[in-house]
């Protein structure tokens, strides 16, 4: 059965995040209280990396169940970790844990169960900085991912396949994404093809379309194109989404359109809950 490989240190999996850093990412992100889209996406990615590290922490260390790459595309297409990991491509989780660019302290408000709320400081590591400049070379970014994952796949045949999550706010300005995405999804380990999920973030507070099974509700050709190149959700991920009350058709795809900040975070959380960690 595909997408059932155990994720272990001997057979790790990997995530690649493709982040649109074009000039339009300067615009406000709905639901994010004055944050630019670039800021909201950076926060979501940093929070996701933090959660991933904590999830894989055991005792005093972190188990390398995953390798992670972050590729930004805008003024240039490049690996986008900042700080000590700057310029590095696929980075094992233990290095991510120990080498953030910096650790901020942020205020967090939480309920204490009796109706009152308390504010306290929490650590917030930063690995990825917001950026918004240039056009949208999405095709080139996907091609970079193909080049990055081809040797990784060859040396990890038994692994749960890589998950590539593309976050963008607009149409590609190069030949992408169709031919490059097709090449990407042709890559496969023995456990299944590379999973390519897409999240379009919105300028407007409009109703998001999340995990659709067809393109009937999508408003334009760009959305339909992005839907077309997106992988179906493996059954294990679809089951988890259903367990959280989402209504998903049998052939739902890992796709979100017009996502606000809440949907972006939920999309990332679900998309990265792959496999059984051993």
């Amino acid at each position: 059965m595909p997408y059932s490989a155990e994720i272990s240190r001997a057979n790790p999996s990997c995530f690649v995040f493709l982040i649109d850093q074009s000039g339009s990412m300067e615009n406000p992100l709905p639901g994010a209280q004055g944050l630019r889209k670039a800021d909201g996406v950076a926060d979501a990615i940093n929070r996701l990396l933090q959660n991933l590290v904590i999830k894989c922490a055991r005792g005093e260390g972190v188990r390398n169940f995953y390798e992670v790459a972050v590729i930004g595309y805008g003024e240039a297409v490049d690996h986008a970790f900042s700080g000590p990991l700057s310029g590095r491509q696929l980075v094992p989780l233990s290095d991510i844990a120990t080498q953030p660019a910096r650790i901020e302290e942020r205020r967090k408000i939480s309920g204490n169960g009796n109706g009152t709320k308390t504010e306290h400081l929490v650590k917030f590591p930063i690995w990825f900085e917001p950026r918004a400049k240039g056009v949208t070379p999405m095709g080139e970014a996907i091609q970079s991912t193909v080049d990055l994952l081809t040797p990784w796949i060859a040396s990890h045949r038994r692994s749960y396949p890589p998950i590539v999550i593309n976050i963008s706010d607009g149409a590609a300005t190069d030949t992408g994404p169709v031919p490059q995405a097709k090449e990407l999804r042709n890559l496969a380990t023995d456990d299944g093809e590379v999973l390519f999920f897409n999240c379009h973030i919105s300028d407007q507070p409009t109703q998001p379309v999340v995990f659709p099974a067809n393109d009937a509700e999508l408003p334009d050709d760009f959305a339909r194109t992005l839907f077309e190149v997106t992988s179906p959700l493996p059954e294990s991920l679809a089951e988890q989404a259903r367990a959280e009350g989402m209504k998903l058709a049998a052939d739902a795809r890992g796709f979100a359109f017009n996502a606000d900040l809440t949907e972006l975070i939920r999309f990332l959380d679900l998309g990265t809950r792959s496999g059984k960690l051993k």
Partner: protein, 271 residues
């Protein structure tokens, strides 16, 4: 009368021996046994499973009503777990993880002599002369949270399967005992109990989930998996068996522990 006890364990493939998160405890007089399976997705679960398994042997819960009994027993152990964590030396991620607590299953088994005294059954000759049914030498009682299982076998027949009895009952998210005292009420709600009598020759097999699921899977297709277990007389043969079954895809890759408790037949001396 004392049982013949063997305890075997094999770590999850890909893990080091020191990452083993199952724990066992057995009292020297062969009356109390415990087996606990620390949840691999939590941190410092090995310490938590060890604390519970050993404490059940050394200082079992007092004889009180269930919720009070478990809360009173668990709270000091939860404090002991927390005291053992080097909180001020942990990096940010380990600190965050440890704050969420550790989890474990627990299966606790206790043998209690019956009223005829010291655990010896009335001799068979007397029973035949008196024309009465065999009187149990012992009673047993067990408590369980989670999917660690007990199987009682008598006369080549499975008599009890506790707390699970079908392979489909094993899920990825059983209720567990956590290091968070606020969860103790939940533990009491999900605590399962069982009891029965124990005759000379009875076999009790205690297993963590991967092996228990295998055991029930073989039993539902008409096999007698305890016979295979009885052939495993040392650590090496147990390891070979688990590795072979894992490679064949019949046992999940997980820490795998078995405690085999066999009460001698009348006239037999435990080895």
């Amino acid at each position: 009368m004392e049982p013949d006890v063997h305890i075997f364990g094999v770590a999850k493939l890909g893990n080091d021996a020191e990452e083993y998160e199952d724990a066992t405890g057995s009292s020297s007089e062969g009356r109390r046994f415990a087996i606990a399976d620390g949840a691999t997705q939590t941190s410092f679960a090995d310490r938590w499973s060890q604390i519970l398994a050993l404490e059940f042997i050394m200082n079992p819960p007092a004889d009180e009503p269930a919720p009070v009994r478990w809360n009173n027993w668990l709270q000091p152990l939860q404090e002991a777990w927390s005291m053992g964590i080097p909180w001020d030396k942990l990096p940010w991620f380990a600190l965050e993880k440890a704050r969420t607590g550790a989890c474990t299953t627990l299966l606790a088994l206790e043998f209690v002599p019956t009223q005829n005294g010291n655990g010896h059954a009335r001799p068979a000759l007397w029973r035949r002369l008196l024309g009465v049914l065999p009187e149990p030498a012992m009673r047993w009682r067990a408590e369980a949270v989670g999917d660690t299982c007990l199987f009682q076998v008598r006369g080549d027949r499975l008599l009890q399967s506790f707390p699970l009895s079908r392979p489909a009952e094993f899920t990825h998210s059983p209720v567990l005992i956590t290091t968070n005292p606020q969860q103790n009420r939940l533990v009491c709600e999900h605590l399962k109990t069982a009891a029965g009598d124990c005759q000379p020759g009875d076999l009790f097999l205690l297993m963590t989930d991967a092996l228990a699921k295998w055991f029930l899977g073989r039993h539902v297709v008409g096999e007698k998996p305890w016979q295979r277990m009885l052939e495993l007389r040392d650590e090496s043969s147990f390891r070979q068996f688990v590795v072979a079954e894992r490679e064949a895809g019949r046992i999940d890759n997980d820490d795998t522990t078995m405690m085999c408790i066999r009460w001698p037949h009348e006239g037999e001396v435990a080895s």
